[in-house]
């Protein structure tokens, strides 16, 4: 069983095109400004938090594959390049990189435009738009930009599926099929998506962007953050409602937490050690998915009702970013550990229509063990 570390993080969010922007916005704790979005056929505008224009032209946009790519691909590429910057700067080009992209709505802008053209006159619908509508388009473009992708996959699901992506990346690393794996959750804004969200979760404010985690096996490549646990996927059914699934996830995540002093299988590299402040608190953070909808948030409140520790709720600041929001939660949790503010962090992802999943990240040299009871017996044994 390999230890899995976080080698880098990246984020594009309504706060800006860098992780530092996300970090600052979360530190400020103030909800970001809301803009209105017009939709056809209805006077009432929809509320969104769009991605601001980048401060300077993004160099990667010069890549020929990105000339016609949709905004979601730009977010994916920006977040992935930031998350892999350290590895790409210090490692040889033969690094085998894996790529998992997780989406809930995906490339809705070009899908809407292409379908609109089809309904007007299919004979003149643009052939340039259609290929960009598929879920796999962002992965394809990113693979072309990075160039050394040996494995790639796009997963679709509700936002908790981001942790399925992280688990898949960890599996590829454990099997030594890749040297590092970047997992990205991304979405883009479109009126039809904002309209759908209005129907399903009226108080929510749609936003977009991407969050990326780059995982590795080598401690010396790490940011000082280690993946400690990912729970099973606790799916809803007629016999298990959303709150019950959330509570089951919480219980399983809690069982993965206990001390194991003196674990030192492999030392952290000097760079990672330097990044760890000596004054780091040994407390744990909960990075949750609480937003602005009491009905939707009820399951999460129930699952964590006894949590008295520090808590971070990125959606309250950023808005409802669907899969991107799930990725931001993980990125924010890892960033808080890497920055020395916390020794460990829980991430709770309770999706709207599929499953509840949780994860735990710890400081790579922390004595708060990931698990000392050994691995669980086959998480999805039927």
């Amino acid at each position: 069983m390999s230890r899995i570390f976080v080698a880098g993080m990246g984020a594009v969010s309504p706060a800006g095109w860098k992780l530092a922007d996300l970090r600052q916005a979360l530190r400020n704790g103030e909800p970001l400004p809301v803009q209105t979005l017009q939709r056809p056929g209805w006077q009432k505008p929809l509320r969104t938090r769009p991605i601001p224009n980048p401060a300077e032209r993004l160099e990667f946009l010069a890549h020929p594959r990105l000339r016609r790519a949709s905004p979601i691909t730009h977010y994916v590429v920006a977040a992935a390049l930031e998350a892999t910057a350290g590895l790409r700067a210090s490692r040889d080009s033969n690094l085998r990189l894996g790529l998992v992209i997780c989406l809930q709505s995906g490339c809705v802008n070009y899908s809407c435009r292409f379908f609109e053209e089809t309904l007007k006159d299919p004979a003149t619908a643009s052939p340039l738009l259609f290929p960009e509508t598929v879920f796999a388009a962002p992965a394809s473009h990113l693979a072309a930009v990075l160039g050394n992708i040996s494995l790639a996959s796009s997963l679709v699901g509700d936002p908790a599926a981001f942790l399925q992506g992280v688990a898949l990346g960890a599996q590829w690393l454990e099997e030594n099929r890749v040297d590092a794996c970047v997992i990205i959750g991304a979405e883009e804004i479109n009126w039809i998506l904002a309209d759908a969200l209005w129907h399903l979760e009226r108080p929510a404010i749609l936003t977009a962007g991407a969050g990326a985690l780059c995982l590795c096996r080598e401690p010396e490549w790490s940011t000082g953050v280690e993946l400690a646990a990912i729970t099973d996927a606790h799916t809803w059914s007629s016999r298990k409602n959303r709150t019950q699934a959330a509570c089951a996830m919480r219980e399983q995540l809690s069982q993965s937490v206990f001390l194991k002093p003196g674990r030192a299988e492999r030392p952290l590299g000097p760079a990672a050690q330097q990044r760890r402040p000596a004054t780091a608190r040994d407390s744990e953070l909960l990075c949750d998915g609480i937003g602005s909808s009491p009905r939707v948030d009820a399951a999460e409140f129930a699952a964590w009702r006894d949590w008295t520790g520090p808590r971070l709720s990125p959606k309250r600041i950023l808005g409802e970013g669907l899969m991107a929001a799930a990725a931001w939660q993980c990125v924010a949790a890892c960033d808080a550990i890497a920055g020395g503010s916390f020794a460990a962090a829980h991430v709770a992802l309770i999706g709207p229509n599929q499953q509840a999943m949780g994860a735990r990240f710890v400081r790579g040299d922390s004595d708060i063990s990931r698990l000392s009871a050994g691995p669980s017996p086959g998480n999805i044994r039927a």
């Binding site: 069983m1 619908a125 796999a136 394809s140 599929q354 039927a382």
Partner: protein, 413 residues
């Protein structure tokens, strides 16, 4: 826990197939499809699901859905929320389930591939959303049931089961990748049984998209034929019940075949075009053979991705020629897309079940419309119905975006 997991077994367990369900334009179920593929029946006709009067292509392989669905654990309200894709998934999963003899389970993994999921709901949502006066009715339901994970959970619910759902969306390789992912879950000890497959229904957006790309044939879909002029779209679903050999033997289950190899890679050449040399295709076939412990000499039939487009077929033909070497001259190859069209996210799964049929019933599916071989083909195309001795088969699937998959199945005897 998904992480950390158990250490994988030192020797990966053998993975066998104990159930298979299929629905295509040839009809529902194994028997109907086997009879059709065995004789090379084609299932194309004029598109009736939406208006194609302004499209270049007018034909597709549409599924004739049964009027009444088989009895399941879904309520009438839940059934009413299934679109075409969801109904096809339900029919395929139930057939696989019944054949496998599995009992309902609380933790049964389901791994599915799809490109469009409930796209017909998305289209209906859009049409209504742009109408004036504004009408909100049914929009919330459409927004939920458009999502493939919701369809997948309903399919599990129909079987009285629940479990983790993974939706792979690697375009036209989705079905092959889903089966490969399920196979890996079992091989690495993360599950003992998995339901897996793929599904996709014809939709106006997708038909219009391929038509806009001028990728659709305006004559006849003829993969690997020198006169080919494009692909034909189809729709359908296929699901397999995979389990460890130990589990199947413990239950004294009927074993239909064994999944012995899987390879996947990504072709970074272009969003929609394969590399002309077929490098990534070559890689996945080699990977799958290496894992399976077989060589091209051991392969008795190759079910090609073979879309019927100029670029795909020439690239795949070159790759097969390089991979097979001298064996290419005698290796029977065909693309069943000539019979039922390109099923997109369902293609890899449907073609894997067709491969299973060839292993169980010892015949090869022909491309009856094939006439003039492309000079790049160094292998014989099966173009007439024929019985054959088939022990090991390989199935290729490639997708927009470049992700590829090869699966290798072995006869259970």
């Amino acid at each position: 826990m998904l992480f950390p997991t158990t250490s994988p077994p030192e020797t990966p367990p053998r993975v066998v197939i104990t159930g298979a369900g299929i629905i295509t334009a040839l009809g529902p179920g194994w028997k109907t499809n086997a009879a059709g593929f065995r004789t090379g029946r084609t299932a194309f006709g004029p598109v009736s699901l939406f208006d194609v009067s302004r499209q270049r292509a007018k034909q597709a392989a549409e599924v004739d859905l049964p009027v009444a669905l088989p009895s399941t654990r879904l309520s009438a309200k839940q059934i009413a929320r299934l679109d075409r894709a969801g109904v096809m998934l339900l029919l395929a999963i139930q057939e696989a389930w019944q054949q496998s003899g599995w009992e309902p389970a609380e933790n049964l993994p389901l791994v599915l591939g799809t490109t469009a999921g409930g796209m017909s709901f998305g289209e209906a949502y859009f049409r209504q959303a742009v109408q004036a006066p504004h009408d909100h009715r049914h929009q919330a339901t459409r927004a939920i049931h458009y999502q493939p994970q919701v369809q997948a959970l309903l399919a599990l619910e129909a079987l009285g089961s629940t479990g983790p759902v993974t939706i792979v969306s690697n375009a036209c390789a989705s079905g092959g990748n889903a089966i490969g992912h399920a196979w890996e879950l079992i091989r690495y000890g993360q599950a003992e049984r998995v339901l897996t497959g793929g599904y996709d229904a014809l939709t106006q957006l997708v038909f219009s998209g391929f038509d806009a790309l001028q990728a659709l044939s305006t004559t006849v879909c003829r993969p690997f034929d020198a006169r080919r002029d494009g692909l034909a779209l189809g729709e359908g679903a296929a699901v397999m019940a995979l389990e460890t050999l130990e589990s199947a033997r413990r239950r004294d289950a009927t074993i239909l075949g064994e999944l012995i190899g899987y390879g996947t890679s990504i072709d970074q050449h272009h969003l929609t075009q394969p590399h002309p040399r077929g490098d990534a295709t070559l890689t996945v076939m080699k990977q799958a053979c290496a894992v399976a412990g077989v060589t091209p000499d051991d392969i008795d039939y190759l079910n090609a991705h073979g879309t019927g487009t100029a670029l795909n077929d020439s690239s795949e033909a070159i790759a097969i020629g390089h991979w097979a070497g001298p064996r290419a001259a005698t290796l029977p190859v065909s693309s069943t897309k000539a019979d039922i069209g390109h099923l997109l996210g369902a293609a890899g799964a449907v073609e894997a079940v067709i491969c299973l049929m060839t292993l169980c019933e010892q015949w090869l599916p022909p491309e009856t419309m094939f006439e003039v071989p492309d000079p790049a083909c160094r292998f014989p195309i099966v173009h007439k119905p024929q019985d054959a001795r088939v022990n090991v088969v390989l199935s290729n699937s490639f997708g927009f975006g470049g992700v590829n998959a090869s699966l290798i199945l072995r006869r259970w005897a």
